[in-house]
Symmetry: C2
Subunit: 487 residues, 2 copies
Amino acid sequence: MRDGPPPPRDALDPADWAEAARIARDTVDAAVRHLAEVRDRPVWRAMTDDQRRRFEAPPPAGPTPLADVIGEVFEGVMPFPMGNVHPRFWAWFMGSSSFTGALADFLAGIQGSNLGGGNHAAVLVDQQVVGWCRDMVGMPAAAAGTLTGGGTAANLVGLTVARNAKAGIDVREEGVAALPRPLRFYGSDQIHSCHRKAVEALGLGNRALRRIATDAGYRIDIRALRAAIAEDRAQGLQPACLIANAGSVNTGAIDDLVALADLAAAENLWLHVDGCIGALVAIAPENRHRVAGLARADSLALDPHKWLHAPFDVGCALVRDGARLRQSFGISPEYLQPAPRGIASGPWLHEFGPETTRSFRALKVWMMLKEHGIARFGRLIDRNIDQARHLATLVGAHPRLDLAAPQVINIVCFRYDPGGLDAAALKALNVEIMLRLQDSGLAVLSDTSLGGAHALRVAICNHRTRHEDLDLLVDEVVRIGDDLAGR
Amino acid sequence: MRDGPPPPRDALDPADWAEAARIARDTVDAAVRHLAEVRDRPVWRAMTDDQRRRFEAPPPAGPTPLADVIGEVFEGVMPFPMGNVHPRFWAWFMGSSSFTGALADFLAGIQGSNLGGGNHAAVLVDQQVVGWCRDMVGMPAAAAGTLTGGGTAANLVGLTVARNAKAGIDVREEGVAALPRPLRFYGSDQIHSCHRKAVEALGLGNRALRRIATDAGYRIDIRALRAAIAEDRAQGLQPACLIANAGSVNTGAIDDLVALADLAAAENLWLHVDGCIGALVAIAPENRHRVAGLARADSLALDPHKWLHAPFDVGCALVRDGARLRQSFGISPEYLQPAPRGIASGPWLHEFGPETTRSFRALKVWMMLKEHGIARFGRLIDRNIDQARHLATLVGAHPRLDLAAPQVINIVCFRYDPGGLDAAALKALNVEIMLRLQDSGLAVLSDTSLGGAHALRVAICNHRTRHEDLDLLVDEVVRIGDDLAGR
């Protein structure tokens, strides 16, 4: 049973703690340099084939000294980031991480606690952070919530509870095939693709999610929504849930949340607010009026890894009637019984969400909110929106730049247009502008399609961006565009 | 628009990087002390009401210096862990984290990259780690996979693909209500509760998951399974998927994977293997024969945050026919179009799983596998199984201890039985033994129910455990039991 040499004791702990500490302190210094100098590096750069090939090796059979492994990370991984910590990264919609958040993830790993639940400090931190999220958006104390891996999971939680609450049968037991009338969910044609993922996952099918047209501001057309609900009722379907955009992914449009809450109440529908982009505008003094009505949601998704800049990943789902959340996810198997005292006497957090084991992602949000305070995050959100307004103004003032959608919060869609090009040529020109910006490492932005027309898209969710970065962007877009257009 | 004092520049970055580095280095030193001295501290201890109350405060409006925030963590959070990093924590089934893994999470946060996809180094690391997981369990190169938050999500991925692959209709579009015949999934009465969560989430309903009786070794009864499939076919239901246990949560039982693979092939069923507990036994030289047949799974879930001791969270889902994974999760919205070059020319990893944004959880697995090599992890798994055998032997040799289930891998179920007690009294006695062990801080184990009878449960998934820790456990259980039983 114990033939051969005994395996090493405590084999995954360092053989020499002092040496491990020295390596980790060096790592900290390198990390500080990495972040302190981020502005001086390219936002993004392509990897060579040789640089890519190091990630093709089979699993390593034998050991490598820790210092060498970290050396590999600093040589092969750190120089080729996605780029979202850089002040001129404005693609898609991402937070910019933070030094404190990274340190929190280190401490969470050192403590190693499992947020599946139980009676220990991490559970209390998790519950406090969920409470802080609830307070930030103004939901009542009776709301419950859970931290998720991101907005997609947070939206799935909300839509799961909506499905179960509106089914009228025990849908957890019987499945959706037993529903007397098929459920219908409604959102605008601007909702995030994760809602499609959600209704597909939930067995409702993509066709259960009806996309409603939007107005000139890319907000859901309430009149069209009312008509769709009436039509579906007439056809024997069961309207169940409205999905409101508090910040659409394409343009940052915010649906009329007050009107949607009124409609949901009148029609006995669940109101789910996708606030992954915009819910935290609620803490920004100059702009919070834009999300009035947010707190009336039955469920709400928000993303601390966006505008709170917690390192990936951390989303949050909130449900106004907290009991409904547990009704959707609670299961008590025989090996997870509560105990009168001891470790198992705390709450089982896995009963409040789709995961069982969960990481201590609460700690980074907790430490960052403590370090900076809500007020500073609110000012930074206002600053990003001010920067978007600044960019929209620059675009509006330039003869060869066109704003492609109204700027509401921190997203600006625009295009370079020298005139005289058809849609395909205009798209090709703007895609090339986008790629040359990336190639040069100067800036990263993304693109999208609005009403069938291509547009460049700048989402300013970045605590390191300065107004002059946007001045530089406009200058470069025009310079590259003029160059490509032969002007 | 810009009234009042301008907001601080770069407000979330430290005002003084040298000061931040000093704080982080001190944090490293404290973390090293925390881990190096883990054996000398209680496994778990209760918090006082005062200690709990600090987590009831509302969101902080203003800032707190970083050093003070970290001070709060070391005063209020670190001393009250779940305990799973301690060598005498054997409750449920958890990894014990690692210093290198924690450092990896720090570096992941510093780089801040989003694993939703794109052309950058983190994506290559992620794909390499998925490939390493595939290689470790022996699945073919055509398999695809995704890193998830844990086993629950990894199992959900597998069952989602199973549902979609076996539906016979476009279930993503039409929903499960459109299925001509209701799908049936099969697992033993020992499968993890996450499978119930999964079939509920997927809209199939808990009743779609048929629990099959187990034999004396808590393995699925293949004869009963065959009968259930035939019965369901006769009733117009559609048998779709077998869920095999490669390490059950209660006892570590491993279903006959070869027989299940043969049956799945003969009956045209999907074979999903839940290997969250036992799949990595495949890399343990002395025990890998126990999971023969694993690589024949159509889908498989495993958990690097268990026996690879990566800090929470990281699970992995693998699908033999890689194209099916993308067919289940691929969506390409207009704002996420691939580009011919640049950041968007890499793969969109969100098309291979349920998440959109994802953390760089691959880095900790990558660094730990590089540092230690597969062979060392395999030896540590063998050592845990050897320790369980040692414990089972001690239990078997003691007149007042009874083994409650066969010990196969690293889980031992047993009870203290002084004789003459009814079932309720015996359970109360053993629960009290468990709680006194926790109260004293000496050891943490959990309990469960087996064939209706209560049992203490020791799951040795801990790289810090030594054989003498188990000797101590047996001595203490008997001492406490004798004390309570008045012997």
